[in-house]
Symmetry: C2
Subunit: 110 residues, 2 copies
Amino acid sequence: MRFIDNPFQCPVTRTMSIIGGKWKPIILNCIADKTIRFGKLNQLMPAISNKVLSKELKDLETLGLIERMEYDELPPRVEYKLTAAGLSLMPVLMEVANWGNSHFAKSIVS
Amino acid sequence: MRFIDNPFQCPVTRTMSIIGGKWKPIILNCIADKTIRFGKLNQLMPAISNKVLSKELKDLETLGLIERMEYDELPPRVEYKLTAAGLSLMPVLMEVANWGNSHFAKSIVS
DNA sequence: CAGTATCCCAAAGGATACTG
DNA sequence: CAGTATCCTTTGGGATACTG
């Protein structure tokens, strides 16, 4: 129980540091089982700023949850997709979503 | 898929706003199936400041995840325990922890 | 098209001292 | 004992303009 001294040794906290941000779960959900381009992601999430989207994608790549594929074309093309690790997160996100739905269903706008 | 415009309509994001903080999952875990006093929690988590602990507890109470019981004694005694909703979160936290353990096991100090 | 660069703001969290 | 009050630093995120 050492994480009581240092929360970042707690597996929950470490996972949260990955998916706990405002946009990361949504980005993962937008990628899902597709390969998708930067611009398409931006279009799916009009409220995210350019800077934040690119930073989040970098984070996710560094964590090994998504793969970035750059094609040598003009205009440039970059595609993202989930890695096996990224895919393995999806069921966890579903559990989290299920809890959110069953306990705060009133405020949902679908 | 409206949450793409407003992440707080996303059930994952809403759940994260509850358990995504630095301390809330740890607090819930420290309470677990016990009733526990403020001072005891502070002692279990020496790294959390007084102010933050009391704020987090208030948040969790407002959310209906814990119950606060105040006894009219001197010195004062206050005890906290999980509500049914709070308990229902524990399996979700376990899933999250399991993922964290299986994907980042190297950095764990137990 | 897929980003950077720059500047800015709000919110989270922390340290310390104090109180009914 | 169980908190408040005050002040401060850090972090996350956003707006906008620019570029290879």
